[in-house]
Symmetry: C2
Amino acid sequence: MEQTQPGDARHRRRTGNEIKAALRDLRIQLALLNHQVGGKLALKDVDLDCLDVLSRNGPLTPSALARQAGLHPATLTGILDRLERAGWIVRDRARGDRRSVTIRVLPDRGMEVFRLYQPMIGAMDDVLTDYTDAELDLIAGFLQRCTEAGRTANGKLTQDS
Amino acid sequence: MEQTQPGDARHRRRTGNEIKAALRDLRIQLALLNHQVGGKLALKDVDLDCLDVLSRNGPLTPSALARQAGLHPATLTGILDRLERAGWIVRDRARGDRRSVTIRVLPDRGMEVFRLYQPMIGAMDDVLTDYTDAELDLIAGFLQRCTEAGRTANGKLTQDS
DNA sequence: CCATATCTTATGAGTTCCGTACTATATGAG
DNA sequence: CTCATATAGTACGGAACTCATAAGATATGG
């Protein structure tokens, strides 16, 4: 029964589990936040997700968006219809491939969204003030690596069986 | 135009924005992951959310769960019906208040879920090995504070207008 | 004992998701 | 050039879902 620094190892594992649990809680809380925001904007959760992906990953075609959002192409038609009708996006006919369509987010209602996220943004700013620059860098890197971990895990789940 | 350490301040703000952007990306990625996992288990996103809340926050009544998940009580009836039919939960008639029902998660299918999350858990473990104990503590604390920030932001959004 | 409040669920209307099929366009072989 | 095949987006229809309303059962306070 070799135990080199048993307390440290145990503490380390416990902290790791805490982090994973915190990530679960955080995901739920953010999902709930988006649900509330979506409610105020008369948008389904899925609509807001698509809008979020679109505004971060630039103009996309419906099929590319469907892939990134894990949705059926036909499902996106309905979503895009809703978003277009409400003035969130426009469908641009591409000039190269005339079958293709590129979805573009209109900037008009951006402030409206920003205002609704303001409570969360403010609360986050409060949290951030308590950390040094170096610590913030560390955290940013960690979060980016988590996202990457999620992406690869997702890939594994998407391809097999 | 007073500029005390202008570079630091700018870098600090930029890192803050990076963190918020990373949080957005992470949320999307985790939502997508849950969507895939849910697909394999024949569960809707909402169903899995409820299951997640239930397994973390212990046995709950439908109304308490509805509040925590931001759903209409009547919606939960349908969700709970599905979850019960598929053997995920049971409805226990409370002995105190006989109007009330407490939802309990059955442990039977826990391993099935764990296996599906394994790619993500493994990827996370890989990420975690690159940090010192002190850094992990810092990260855990940060994530918990983010969750708390989400909770309060949510509260503000829920109550007003 | 009665009025009122609370917890859950049945019902029904409106909406959404997605499998399939269809149109339009692009690409490649002969 | 012509035709077969592949691809992008969407229309359509069935099945399923969400939620407002209301009903049924139980609790609580006067």
